[in-house]
Amino acid sequence: MQKRRINLSVISLLEKYAIFFVLIGLIILFSILSPYFLTVQNLTNVFVQQSYVIIAAVGLSFVMISGGMDLSIGYQMSLTGVSTAVFMKWMNIPVPTAIVLGLLLGILLGLFNGIAAITLKVHPLIVTLGTMTVFQGLSYIVSKQSVIMNLDPSFKYIGQGYLFGFLPVSVVLMILVVSFASFILRKTFVGRYVYALGGNEEASHLAGINVVRTKLLVFGLCGFFVALSSMVLFARSGSAASTTGPGTEFTCMTAAVLGGISFKGGEGTMWGLVTGVLILGILSNGMQLVGMGTYAQYIVKGFVLLAAVGFDTFQKSSSRRTKKAMAV
């Protein structure tokens, strides 16, 4: 009996951190395949490239954990990014003020999604399918379909600069965002409310949780993080165009699902999310180094997602079986 329990706990440990072992496995695999992979330079690159994805994915995870969905984050990035650039370059607003305005705009877009979902009583997936198109139109109008070049160096610092000469600013921002989100979700009552809402909205309502307020908060936070993510992305590229941003929503969703954030809501962790993003990032990077083409990479990424989801379902049904056995 004792021995069996130990076996069970080893298995459950493996199950719980499976996604982490996948990441380690990938790192080992690519280290063998490419001598360049496991260098400080390359790994720093991966982190810098993925920092904006992680920041946006953190925003999306708040919405997803609360049981919602946001398809519009790609165009939110596009809109807040070009708006910030327009503030700086065309309206000559000082860089810090422009950044603050951009972040406020992000919160506003998020709240807009939240209010629409609440008042229309429609699932956020559908609502953001609509607002996505609205944001797309707005973004092209704001940017006048042009590429705004030569962004201010002090703005570009967010995406290209280094702290103390070796720490990429974008990575520092990413670490701050992940730590902050993790703190909110794990340590505060707000975090509890977010999980509660995703776990069972009706029970949350009856437990005295203000469902409307919590939803607004979640969407507002999402908008904020997505705007911040757009700053990092636009600052890295040094120019602003409405075509930058869209597509991120699917990368974020894939990473979130890989990292164990359920579409149904109510579960998920920040370390899981980061692991999910890094798996995708390392797959791209590693396959690039090995010399696989972009399109082959898509195929591999797609299958990795399917495998992860399949494994998750399998694990849930098997763990139910073990629990039952334990209960007996």
Binding site: K187, A196, N200, G208, A327
Partner: protein, 492 residues
């Protein structure tokens, strides 16, 4: 007309912990309207499911058209002309009336709309009603949907038609229309098994009535030779089996008073609960008891009326306002409304008062653990750890977790909605004891229950709701099952 078309012999069906049907034998004759009568949970629904083949009985036989079956399935039932009209319609709301009627039996490979509409029109004419066969179901009022449901059964050439509470969604004139159709069926030799709580309907339409109680068949009587009084006697004739813990007599201080509250399915309800009192709320399914509870708790919108807690007027717009005022609700459906199944026991127990467990801005994990341990011990929840997920607990233990969550908010008015539904006898007793302890400590309690024994055994006073209105109040000395049923059925 005394030819027996359907005969049930010694049907028994057991669910874990309950005998839903106990050795039931019953005959249905050709061309009669046969009413089934019984309290909530008497076994009527289970019996219909057996007849329609939706469930198979543990033992016994079903004789239909002279053939004996020990196993029955929906297909065989349909072959023998058995059709059921359930309380919830089985119509597809995005299809037309005609399409619904022909659903599942379109002739040929392609849909022939002309033929389909023709068939619908014929049936509607035969039933002497006018419904546009092209109208979509979702555009039709409830009553006409009901008629489409009946038309569907007619088109299948039903020989035995089971109607489960068909009048529930209908208005008085619509019921009259439906009765005309039922009478027409009877004249054509169709057997109608009619289930209703409304006694006047049974007297109007039925030829014979069979009474069930606690899964047992009681008696069948000719409607012309019986009275309401006799039927109620048949329904209730039973002694209290279980013993209930007692508590101190209540105080004269009012814990909760509601005045003229109106809202969804609640009309002008006024009553009060004293500190230390358990007020039972009786009523048939659909009488608006849960709706009333949700109204008081702020879960649904209060349209008008006033609520006073401890003598003070309170404005309750959301459940958080109710909790703040000291009103707690233990909801009816613990899985859908009470628990967060994927979360741990400790998490569930603290979610309603988590803001009281903060240290600065972070949750104080040690107080969270302490609270969870305290309630786990207090309520005797059987679990290896408070970090166990709630979905792994038994129903009784899940219910205790829901209780703990509400108790932690220190409400002194507690509304229990079906507190012991679907839990085992031991856990039931523990919950009764807990309720008495709370009463002794001065809580005012409202207990909504469909379990007659529990209602009579636990309550100090009973209010009865019927059709969303307060039908009457009974003091302890006036408690009787027949009186409660009379009030619940709408007779004063």
């Amino acid at each position: 007309m005394d030819e027996v078309i359907l005969s049930l012999r010694n049907i028994t069906k057991t669910y874990p912990g309950v005998k839903a049907l106990d050795n039931v034998s019953l005959d249905f004759r050709k061309g009669e309207v046969h009413a089934l009568l019984g309290e909530n949970g008497a076994g009527k629904s289970t019996l219909i499911k057996v007849i329609s083949g939706a469930i198979s009985p543990d033992s016994g036989e079903i004789i239909v058209n002279g053939q004996s079956h020990s196993q029955f399935n929906p297909h065989v039932a349909k072959q023998n002309g058995i059709e059921v009209i359930y309380q919830e319609f089985n119509l597809i709301s995005s299809l037309s009336a005609a399409e619904n009627i022909s659903l599942g039996e379109e002739p040929g490979r392609f849909v022939n709309y002309k033929l389909m509409n023709q068939k619908a029109v014929e049936i509607f004419e035969q039933m002497n009603i006018s419904i546009d066969p092209n109208a979509l179901i979702r555009d039709l009022p409830c009553s006409q949907q009901q008629i489409v449901e009946i038309a569907k059964a007619v088109s299948r050439k039903a020989r035995i038609l089971i109607m489960d509470e068909p009048s529930a969604p209908l208005s008085v004139s619509e019921v009259a229309k439906m009765f005309d159709i039922v009478r027409k069926f009877r004249a054509d030799g169709v057997t109608v098994i009619y289930i209703s709580h409304r006694m006047d309907e049974i007297f109007e339409i039925a030829d014979r009535v069979s009474v069930m109680r606690d899964g047992c068949y009681v008696d069948t009587v000719e409607i012309s030779k019986t009275s309401r009084k006799e039927l109620i006697q048949l329904m209730v004739g039973r002694d209290l089996k279980e013993s209930y813990p007692s508590h101190k007599p209540h105080t004269n201080e009012v814990a909760l008073e509601v005045k003229n509250i109106c809202g969804k399915r609640s009309y002008d309800i006024s009553f009060s609960v004293f500190k230390g009192e358990i007020l039972g709320v009786a009523g048939l399914v659909g009488a608006g008891r849960t709706e009333m509870a949700r109204l008081i708790y702020g879960a649904d919108k209060l349209q008008s009326g006033h609520i006073f807690v401890n003598g003070k007027a309170v404005n309750i717009r959301l459940p958080s306002d109710a909790i703040h005022a000291g009103v707690g609700l233990i909801p009816e459906d613990r899985k859908q409304q009470g628990c967060f199944l994927d979360m741990t026991i400790a998490w569930n127990m603290t979610i309603a008062n988590i803001r009281k467990l903060l240290k600065g801005i972070v949750i104080d994990r040690s107080r969270e653990r302490k609270q969870a341990e305290t309630y786990t011990n207090l309520l005797g929840i059987k679990t290896p750890s408070i970090w166990q997920k709630v979905k792994n607990l038994s129903g009784g233990n899940q219910q205790k977790v829901v209780l703990a969550k509400t108790l932690a908010t220190h409400s002194n008015v507690l509304i229990f909605d079906e507190p012991t539904r679907g839990i085992d006898v031991g856990a039931k007793q523990e919950i009764y004891t807990l309720m008495c302890d709370l009463a002794d400590k001065g809580s005012g309690m409202i207990m909504i229950t469909s379990d007659m024994e529990e209602l009579l055994g636990m309550s100090d006073r009973i209010i009865v709701l019927a059709e969303g209105k307060l039908a009457g109040t009974l003091e302890k000395a006036e408690f009787s099952q027949s009186r409660i049923l009379e009030l619940a059925a709408g007779y004063n």
